[in-house]
């Protein structure tokens, strides 16, 4: 869920919700539907408005009895302390970690690896997977695989990998790359970017060796319903909580 000023921003048109823009209500809806974990990405631009994120985290933690991760604009251990104290289970860090890899180990030491999710956006350019920042606009020149291995060594507890080549295409996840990543590290890898139908989820667990799969718009627009998806995955012998 992308949130701004405490409200979800990707167009959601659920008729059965009083206010689909209310991130807390949407979170409760997904928890009820059987989502195993929720990720909130704050896209609020200004520092002052970060306060609304902390309030949102508190409200979500009060309501929700499943784990949730919060990301967006986190750059210091203090930022993380505030969010965890508000009730977040994990935080996801991205560009701040690329700029200052030491942040990963600082967070792992202070809060434990289990709450440090390293989000990485990467794009395949001329056959090489490169880490990008700012939603794919800013090239870093850093090799994806080297970065992930380094992040694991520094103490990241999970990898949230989004392929910019697949994100938004609805043609399936970047399974070949995911499988390579998943075999290189001994921490969970979450697949993100490209979900279009239920087969894509099965494929990313089987071919992509993903430990979890993340999607937004296919759920927001009800193209896929979570209960149906889980039943389908079960028929494919993928262990799921139903």
């Amino acid at each position: 869920m992308d949130v701004k000023d405490g409200r979800t921003v990707k167009g959601v048109n659920f008729v059965d919700l009083r206010d689909a823009g209310d991130a807390v209500e949407l979170a409760a809806y997904y928890a009820e539907q059987g989502a195993d974990e929720l990720v909130f990405l704050d896209i609020t631009a200004t520092h002052e408005k970060r306060k609304t994120l902390v309030e949102l985290v508190q409200k979500v933690a009060r309501e929700l009895n499943i784990p949730f991760t919060v990301g967006g604009g986190i750059s210091t251990p203090e930022d993380v302390g505030v969010l965890l104290n508000a009730g977040a289970d994990k935080v996801s860090i991205n560009s701040a970690a690329v700029r200052n890899p030491q942040l990963i180990s600082d967070l792992a030491k202070r809060f434990g690896s289990q709450c440090v999710v390293l989000a990485v956006d990467a794009k395949c350019v001329d056959g090489n997977w490169e880490v990008f920042l700012n939603g794919g606009r800013l090239s870093t020149g850093i090799d994806l695989f080297e970065w992930i291995v380094k992040a694991e060594q520094l103490g990241a507890g999970e990898i949230l990998f989004t392929s910019m080549n697949h994100d938004g295409t609805k043609n399936g996840f970047a399974n070949e790359t995911l499988a390579k990543l998943s075999e290189m590290v001994n921490i969970p890898v979450i697949a993100s970017g490209g979900a279009g139908n239920m087969e894509h989820f099965a494929d990313t667990f089987i071919e992509g060796k993903a430990d979890a799969a993340l999607a937004a718009s296919v759920f927001h627009f009800k193209e896929i319903e979570i209960p149906e998806l889980k039943k389908y995955l079960k028929t494919k012998n993928i262990p799921v909580r139903i």
Partner: protein, 196 residues
Amino acid sequence: MKKQNIVIIDYDAGNIQSVKYAFERLGITPIVSKDKEVIRNADKVIFPGVGEASWAMNSLKENDLIDLIPDLKQPVLGICLGMQLMCESTEEGNTKALGIFPVSAKRFTNEQKVPHMGWNQLDDLKGGLLNGIKTSEFTYFVHSYYVPLIEETIASCDYIVPFSAALQKDNFYACQFHPEKSGDVGVKILENFINL
């Protein structure tokens, strides 16, 4: 729901907000405290824990809580690291722990990904704290160390090896999973604890 005085031990070890909120959803406002008298006078005590074991034991020591916890007479529920600290020791930081359960926590081997993170199924359920929970129901786990199966095991789980998902000895209860994050199954377990 029974009205009662539930105290969450506050020793600066991780996320106690979620545990507090989980009880609030059940209509109980727990007290979060490190005061020995407050803890001793509680109807029920929650011993949470997220973080690193030796650091957490140090924190218990600094707060002078090491002798208090094993001596408590009311129902005590250890959660996650709290459960491992209720054992004799843990391999994490080679830490001597509180010695309530006669077992040592061990580190998972790297045959599969560590930490064991996510939803997993319970088995060999022995009632009490787990009354009404069915075999194969899911709870949420996040841990790199595990407690082997022992006589006091009241639920098991399997990841790399079979391990203790929950323990009980006298008034001491513990679960490796996070009931406060385990959906409706977790709610039922917390209700059971309240109703003990």
